[in-house]
C-alpha cells in the first residue's frame, strides 16, 4: 500500500479521507490556504503544505503547487476528495506526467463522462436508457422543435459542457424555443467558453436515484446499491438515503445492472456514481456519471459495511477488488443530512463566520463527518458545508427518528445552519410517506419559517444566562488566580462585543 498520500482538499471530506488513511497506516499530507491555517484538516494530517492565498485559483485549484507539494513531501498519490480538482482531467494528466498516482478514474474517462453528448452516446451505444432527446449538439431551433414534439413538452435545452445549473432552459411550447436556445447558448459561452447545446425531455415529477459503482484495473466492476437524493435546495442535495423506498428488488437489480454496464462502457476504474432519473411510472433514465467520491457516500457505507475510501486506495494502488457483487447486501436504513453554514429562512443564503460553540451529536448508529470545531472561523471563500450527519438503523422509520434526535442534539452557535429546517422536513408527512421528488422543497417548504414554540423557554434561558454572567463577573473580580484566562473565549467575546 502507499506509504504516504496527499489530500488535495479541505474541510469534512479531507478529514474523511485522512480518517481512513489513519486506519490503514497511510501517512497524510494536507494542503492549505491562508484562510485555512487553523483548519481541521491541517491539524489532523501528519504533514501540511502551505499553498498560497485563499482564492481557490491560488491554492486548492492550483495544479502545479499541489503536485509540487506531493513531490516535495514524497507523497505517492493524491486523493482529490470532491469539488476542486476532483473531476479535472487536465490535473489527472499532469499527475500521470509527474508519476504521482491520482486516486480516481483515468483522465480519458473523466473527459468523456464530463461531456454530456459523449457520455449520452456511450450509454446509448451500450443499451443504457438515457432521457429521451438528442445525442448530438444542435444549433437550429427548428430542429429542436421537431425533436421536442417527438419527446413531448416540457423539454430542457442544455449546454453540452454544462454544470452548476448554468446554460439550462425549460421550454414548455414551440413558441419559447428560439429564445430559449439563444439564451442557453449565450449563457454557456459565458460560463464554459462553449455555446453548444442539445435537447432532453424534462420530467416534472421525478426522483433522483443514483448507484455507487466500483471498478478495479482488472475488469471487475460492481455496484453497491442505490442512494435516493431527491430532496434538493438550489439544485443541491440536502438529504440522501438508502435504500430508496420505491425500488422493488427487481427494479433495483435492473438499475444496478445498467449502472455496471454504464461503468464498463466508459472504461471506468475506481469509485464512481451513475445518476438516474426515475419517473412516476418507474422508468429510469441515465443522467450522468460523477467521476469521484460523492458527499453522500457514507449512507452506502453504513448499509453495506464497506469503507469506500479504503477501496479507492486499494484500487488506485493496483489491487484487485476483494469483494464481488454477491458479497454486497444492504442492511438496515441510512440517512444523511448535510449541515451547511447557511440560512434556510433566507433562501439558504451562505452564513460564514466564527463557530462560537459546537457540540456534535453522538450515540449508537450516529456518524458525523465534521470539518470544523469550536472557535474555527468558517471562511467565505469555499463551499459552506460544515459536516455531514449520518444515521443508521434497522428500518426507515427508526432512521428518521434517530436523525431527528441527532439533529436536536447538534449545537452549532455563531453561524446559521439548516438544522431546524431539516427537523421539520424529516417530520413532514410527505417525507415520512416517502413521497419525495426533486421539487420536494419548492412544493412543501418554499415559505418555511422556523417554529417558535419554545420562545418562552428561550426567554427563560436568556434570564438564566444573565444571572450566570453576573456571577461569573463577580468571581473574576474576587479571584486572584484568574490568570491565565483562555484566549479562545476572550477572542469570542471581543468578536461578539
Amino acid at each position: 500500500m502507499f506509504k504516504k498520500i496527499l489530500v488535495a482538499n479541505r474541510g469534512e471530506i479531507a478529514l474523511r479521507v485522512i480518517n481512513t488513511c489513519r486506519d490503514m497506516g497511510v501517512k497524510t499530507v494536507a494542503v492549505y490556504s491562508d484562510a485555512d491555517k487553523k483548519a481541521m484538516h491541517v491539524l489532523a494530517a501528519d504533514e501540511a503544505v502551505y499553498l498560497g492565498p485563499s482564492e481557490p485559483s491560488q491554492s486548492y485549484l492550483h495544479m502545479d503547487k499541489i503536485i509540487d507539494a506531493a513531490k516535495t513531501t514524497g507523497a505517492e498519490a493524491i486523493h482529490p476528495g470532491y469539488g476542486f480538482l476532483a473531476e479535472n482531467s487536465e490535473f489527472v494528466e499532469k499527475c500521470e506526467q509527474q508519476s504521482v498516482v491520482f486516486i480516481g478514474p483515468p483522465a480519458k474517462v473523466i473527459k468523456d463522462l464530463g461531456d454530456k453528448i459523449t457520455s449520452r452516446k456511450i450509454m446509448v451505444n451500450s443499451g443504457v436508457p438515457v432521457t429521451p432527446g438528442l445525442t448530438s449538439t444542435e444549433a437550429d431551433a427548428d430542429v429542436m422543435i421537431v425533436e421536442a414534439e417527438k419527446v413531448g413538452y416540457p423539454v430542457l435545452i442544455k449546454a453540452t459542457a454544462g454544470g452548476g445549473g448554468k446554460g439550462i432552459r425549460i421550454v414548455n411550447s414551440s413558441e419559447e424555443m428560439a429564445d430559449a436556445c439563444s439564451a442557453a447558448s449565450r449563457e454557456a459561452v459565458n460560463a464554459f467558453g462553449n455555446g453548444e447545446i442539445y435537447l432532453e425531455k424534462f420530467f416534472t415529477k421525478a426522483r433522483h436515484i443514483e448507484f455507487q459503482v466500483l471498478a478495479d484495473k482488472f475488469g471487475n466492476t460492481i455496484h453497491l446499491l442505490e442512494r435516493e437524493c431527491s430532496v434538493q435546495r438550489r439544485h443541491q442535495k440536502i438529504i440522501e438515503e438508502t435504500p430508496s423506498s420505491v425500488l422493488t428488488p427487481a427494479l433495483r437489480e435492473e438499475m444496478g445492472k445498467a449502472a455496471v454496464t454504464a461503468a464498463r462502457a466508459s472504461g471506468y476504474v475506481n469509485a464512481g456514481t451513475v445518476e438516474f432519473l426515475l419517473d412516476e411510472n418507474n422508468n429510469f433514465y441515465f443522467l450522468e456519471v460523477n467521476t469521484r467520491l460523492q458527499v453522500e457516500h457514507p449512507v452506502t457505507e453504513m448499509i453495506t459495511g464497506v469503507d469506500l475510501v479504503r477501496l479507492q486506495l486499494e484500487i488506485a494502488y493496483g489491487q484487485e477488488l476483494t469483494i464481488s457483487q454477491e458479497d454486497i447486501a444492504g442492511r438496515g436504513h441510512s440517512i444523511e443530512c448535510r449541515i451547511y453554514a447557511e440560512d434556510p429562512e433566507n433562501d439558504f443564503f451562505p452564513s460564514p463566520g466564527t463557530i462560537t460553540f459546537l457540540k456534535e451529536p453522538t450515540g449508537p448508529g450516529i456518524r458525523n463527518d465534521c470539518g470544523v470545531y469550536s472557535g474555527f472561523e468558517v471562511p467565505v471563500d469555499y463551499d459552506p458545508i460544515l459536516s455531514k450527519l449520518i444515521v443508521h438503523a434497522q428500518t426507515r422509520e427508526h432512521a428518521i427518528n434517530k436523525m431527528i434526535k441527532a439533529l436536536k442534539s447538534y449545537i452549532v452557535l455563531g453561524v446559521k445552519t439548516p438544522i431546524d429546517f431539516l427537523i421539520d422536513v424529516l417530520q413532514s408527512e410527505p417525507f415520512v410517506q416517502g413521497e419525495v421528488f426533486t421539487d420536494f422543497i419548492e412544493t412543501h417548504f418554499s415559505d418555511w419559517k422556523p417554529d417558535m414554540s419554545d420562545a418562552d423557554l428561550a426567554r427563560i434561558a436568556f434570564v438564566v444566562d444573565e444571572m450566570c454572567s453576573n456571577r461569573k463577573a463577580k468571581r473574576v473580580a474576587s479571584a486572584e488566580d484568574a490568570i491565565p484566562t483562555p484566549w479562545q473565549t476572550l477572542g469570542n467575546w471581543r468578536q461578539g462585543g
Partner: protein, 175 residues
C-alpha cells in the same frame, strides 16, 4: 426583577420572582414557570422548567444571545438595552444610504465609479460568499461619492462599500 425580551418582532415582559440559589419563578404573560438550573459549561445550561429537563445552549453576540433549544435557534434581545443603544447611536448624520453586504463576502466586481449617477436598484457591487454571488444595488437615485472597495477585498456586514449621495434635498433626511 423584570426583563423585556424580544424574539423576532415580539417583545414580552419576563418577571423573575422568588430568586433563590439556582431556582426562581418566571412569569411570562399569564404563564408562570418554576425554573431551576445547573450550569454545565460556558455555553450550556441545564434547565428544569415545571419539572421537565432541557439543555439550552447560549452564545452571547453582544447585541443579543443566540439560544439553541432542541435543534431550534432563537435570537433573544434585551428590549430595554436595545432602546438605550438606539437613542445613543441615532442622531443627525445617521447613515441611511448604505451599500453593505448581507454576509461576510469577497468583492467580485465593482460596477460603478466615483461621480457616477445611479438609479435606485442599479447594480453597484457584486460580492460572493461560499460560491454564491449576490448583487448589491443602489438604495435610491443618487451620485456615487466614493468607492471604498476593490475587487478581491474581504467585506463584512456593516462595511459601507460605496458612498452614495441621495439626489433628493438633504433636509428630508434631517427632518
Amino acid at each position: 426583577m423584570e426583563y423585556r425580551l424580544k424574539i423576532n418582532e415580539e417583545t414580552l415582559p419576563v418577571e423573575v420572582e422568588n430568586d433563590e440559589e439556582e431556582k426562581f419563578t418566571a412569569v411570562i404573560g399569564k404563564n408562570a414557570f418554576d425554573v431551576s438550573y445547573t450550569t454545565v459549561n460556558d455555553h450550556c445550561i441545564h434547565l428544569s422548567v415545571n419539572g421537565q429537563g432541557v439543555n439550552v445552549y447560549v452564545s452571547d453576540q453582544g447585541d443579543g444571545k443566540i439560544i439553541a433549544i432542541k435543534g431550534k435557534s432563537y435570537f433573544v434581545q434585551d428590549a430595554d438595552l436595545l432602546e438605550q443603544n438606539k437613542t445613543r447611536k441615532k442622531g443627525p448624520g445617521s447613515d441611511l444610504t448604505e451599500v453593505t453586504p448581507p454576509m461576510p463576502a469577497v468583492v467580485i466586481a465593482v460596477a460603478v465609479g466615483e461621480g457616477d449617477v445611479v438609479e435606485k436598484g442599479q447594480a453597484v457591487v457584486i460580492v460572493s460568499a461560499m460560491k454564491m454571488e449576490t448583487t448589491l444595488v443602489a438604495p435610491f437615485n443618487g451620485t456615487v461619492q466614493k468607492v471604498n472597495v476593490a475587487e478581491g477585498d474581504k467585506v463584512m456586514p456593516g462595511d459601507i462599500l460605496v458612498d452614495i449621495e441621495k439626489n433628493e434635498p438633504e433636509e428630508e433626511i434631517l427632518s
